[in-house]
């Protein structure tokens, strides 16, 4: 049954996505005026629709040549994190008002202004104009600063390899380039995952919230978190209970460092004249008093063999 349904939805999804993406490729939204990243490819996760079937995990592993995820519902007993071999996991949360459990998929949030990409000193992680945040292991030097920077704790590291790599969801960038849906979005049987442009998905999410008063929490997780992410969540239970991190800044993380980073050019410009002035001032006075070569009467006049003290 799954297979038929999956293949049906595959076609439906593909057509739907193709339809949504039929517009000519627009440039990324300008930050001023428009919604951040409004023309970037995004995914809306409606956790009220997620059945916890974990087909997305299976599809993701297959598409990324990762080992198949463990089977059985026992995995839901404890919250899980993505790992170097599992770019996405589904966690179970509390029961909703209707008594059914809630689930949420966890993966890279593909932020509009990603902390990891700004943190990478060697352009190993890049933000693509289309939306995905991609990693290239052949460029990486393994400093793991991206892991420090990411507020969602997304990047994982394959410490057990001799040439370790950063491991995270790629948003199926290669598939998107071919016009396909990300693997998870393609297989989701319940329609919990909706692929589209960020601006439109935000509108869609807001429409669902307003059209169903009292059903959803009036908050789109990812609208403002970290300055905006491309993976958006709407839910009717607290997001933290679904394994999604709370306490995320409402502004972009790279902004936190831009002030400090504007200092180096000033230092390079200001320090040389300042220090040379200091040098001229300090050593000019010395030449006046003839300290070079004289015996300094600084307290102990006797026994000093060195010229400079």
């Amino acid at each position: 049954m799954k297979l038929n349904r999956r293949s049906f939805l595959k076609i439906a999804g593909a057509t739907g996505a193709a339809g949504m993406l039929a517009r000519p490729a627009a440039a990324s939204a300008s930050e001023a005026g428009g919604v951040p990243g409004e023309n970037e490819r995004s995914m809306l996760v409606d956790t009220t629709l997620c059945a916890g079937c974990r087909a997305c995990e299976a599809a993701c592993s297959e598409a990324n040549h990762n080992p198949a995820p463990p089977e059985g519902d026992a995995v839901f007993d404890a919250p899980r994190e993505p790992s170097p071999d599992a770019f996405t996991v589904v966690n179970r949360g509390p029961n909703a008002h209707d008594g059914t459990p809630r689930f949420a998929k966890k993966q890279c949030m593909h932020c509009v202004s990603p902390a990891c990409a700004s943190a990478c000193p060697i352009k190993g992680i890049e933000k693509q104009p289309e939306g995905p945040v991609t990693y290239r292991p052949e460029r990486c030097m393994g400093c793991r600063y991206c892991m420090i920077a990411c507020p969602f704790g997304v990047p994982k590291y394959s410490y057990n390899e001799l040439a370790p790599r950063v491991r995270k969801c790629t948003f199926c960038f290669e598939r998107q380039k071919e016009g396909k849906l990300p693997a998870c979005g393609e297989v989701c049987p319940t329609g919990a995952l909706t692929f589209g442009y960020r601006g439109e998905l935000l509108e869609l999410a807001k429409t669902r919230i307003y059209s169903n008063p009292g059903k959803y929490h009036p908050h789109i997780y990812g609208e403002n978190e970290a300055g905006g992410t491309n993976w958006l969540y709407i839910t009717d239970v607290p997001v933290e209970k679904l394994g999604l991190p709370g306490g995320i800044e409402k502004s972009s993380y790279p902004d936190l460092i831009s002030g400090a980073l504007s200092v180096p050019p000033f230092v390079m410009t200001l320090w040389p004249p300042l220090l040379m002035g200091l040098y001229v001032f300090a050593n000019g006075r010395h030449k006046e008093h003839g300290e070079h070569g004289d015996d300094h009467g600084n307290g102990n006049a006797h026994g000093k063999e060195d010229r400079h003290g």
Partner: protein
């Protein structure tokens, strides 16, 4: 130094015997190395090297306790960050003597620069041990990630290490009698000194800027948007403390190498006066940082107590010891203060990078260094001490070369 019969075999051999083996034959030299201190140092250094080789053989997963939650451990927090900050005495002393014109401190500039040079070399080795794919390091100049504070750190450390190397080359040329090269180096010493301050300012502060990206992970008592200023000021503090600490040890241990008598106690008291002022100002700066971050509520917590230990025991107390020692011409207080100062800055770097980092994580998954990580770190320090001793015993660092007495640099 034993004066053994010089072999007439070849000039190369004679040179090696004089320069490398301090005038002893190989047998005599090896015998002279048999002291208990050397057994310990040599053992630790050998262990460190062996563990490094093992780490590259089996990978990070098998040798470290790094995890997905804690990607940075003591190889970053101690070897790189603490190593770099304790090596700040180089530019601090060079500025004091060559830019402020306080030539009384000239005798202790070269040991400070040597400490800095060795400190940076070891920090880079520690970094290479920690990097997952160190062979890609060089491409940072080809694909500059200029939005990254780590890029700034990497570039400035690379450039500053070159400056330090050139500054270290000066006593080397004196030792090797390379007059022409020395002449060239003397001409560029002033620009090198200025560059050393520029690069040091940039990367010492950038090491602090690294953590600006992690407000949720670093405890609010340590996280402040001014962290990069604090890191620079504490680098100067670390430089002063380290020069005092290393100077006390070297002056006694290598007394035979000192050629011109200078009152080291007086210089240390002078440094202590500067240290007292800067430590005092830094104490209040940190308070301002806490107020600015609205974090005063955290002071009365467990983490607040730990923060108070760092502030009171390792910032305020050294300030008082420096002040008291300077006032009363009591060098002992100054030296105790310097030890506390060095430990305090190391503690601050460890707090920011591994201890107060991920403070919200449950203790079951908090990072604790593995024995092998500690082994590498300790081994690298031992290696540094051995290298320091080797160089001081041969090159004009603590004393002046007879042909170059009274040299400006």
């Amino acid at each position: 130094m034993a004066n053994a019969a010089v072999t007439t075999a070849s000039p190369v051999r004679a040179w090696v015997q004089e320069k490398i083996f301090l005038g002893m034959t190989v047998k005599e030299y090896v015998r002279s190395l048999a002291t208990p201190a050397n057994v310990v140092l040599g053992g630790l250094a050998a262990m460190g090297i062996a563990l490094m080789v093992y780490r590259f053989a089996v990978g990070l997963g098998a040798t470290t306790n790094l995890s997905q939650y804690s990607p940075w451990g003591i190889w970053i927090g101690f070897d790189m960050m603490t190593g770099i900050v304790l090596a700040a005495g180089g530019f601090t002393l060079a500025t004091t003597v060559h830019l402020f014109g306080l030539h009384a401190y000239h005798p202790i500039v070269r040991p400070a620069l040597l400490t800095a040079f060795l400190g940076y070399m070891l920090a880079v080795v520690g970094l290479i041990a920690d990097l997952g794919r160190p062979w890609n390091m060089v491409f940072i100049f080809v694909r500059p990630g200029t939005t990254s504070a780590l890029f700034e750190v990497a570039c400035c450390v690379a450039l500053y290490s070159s400056v330090l190397f050139l500054e270290f080359l000066l006593p080397t040329t004196e030792w090797l009698g390379l007059k022409r090269i020395r002449g060239v180096l003397m001409k560029i010493m002033l620009p090198l000194t200025i560059l050393s301050v520029v690069f040091s300012t940039m990367h010492q502060s950038a090491l602090g800027s690294l953590f600006l990206l992690a407000p949720g992970k670093l405890h609010p008592l340590w996280y402040t948007k001014f962290i990069f200023i604090f890191f620079f000021i504490s680098a100067v503090m670390a430089g002063i403390s380290m020069v005092l600490f290393e100077g006390s040890l070297s002056h006694k241990a290598f007394a035979s190498r000192i050629t011109s008598h200078f009152d080291v106690d007086r210089l240390q008291i002078g440094l202590a006066r500067a240290g007292a002022i800067i430590f005092f100002a830094y104490f209040f700066l940190k308070l301002q940082g806490v107020v600015d971050n609205h974090a005063w509520g955290h002071i009365l917590t467990g983490w607040g107590a730990w923060w108070a230990v760092e502030m009171l025991g390792f910032v305020l107390l050294p300030a008082l010891l420096f002040a008291y020692g300077a006032r009363n011409m009591n060098v002992k207080f100054v030296r105790i203060g310097s030890v506390l100062g060095v430990l305090g800055i190391a503690l601050n770097r460890l707090n920011v990078s591994v201890i107060a980092f991920n403070w919200k994580l449950p203790s079951a998954v908090r990072y604790v260094p593995s024995l092998m990580e500690v082994g590498v770190s300790v081994g690298l320090v031992a290696l540094g001490v051995v290298a320091f001793r080797f160089i001081v015993n041969r090159m004009p660092i603590l004393g002046e070369h007879s042909s170059y007495r009274g040299s400006e640099y």
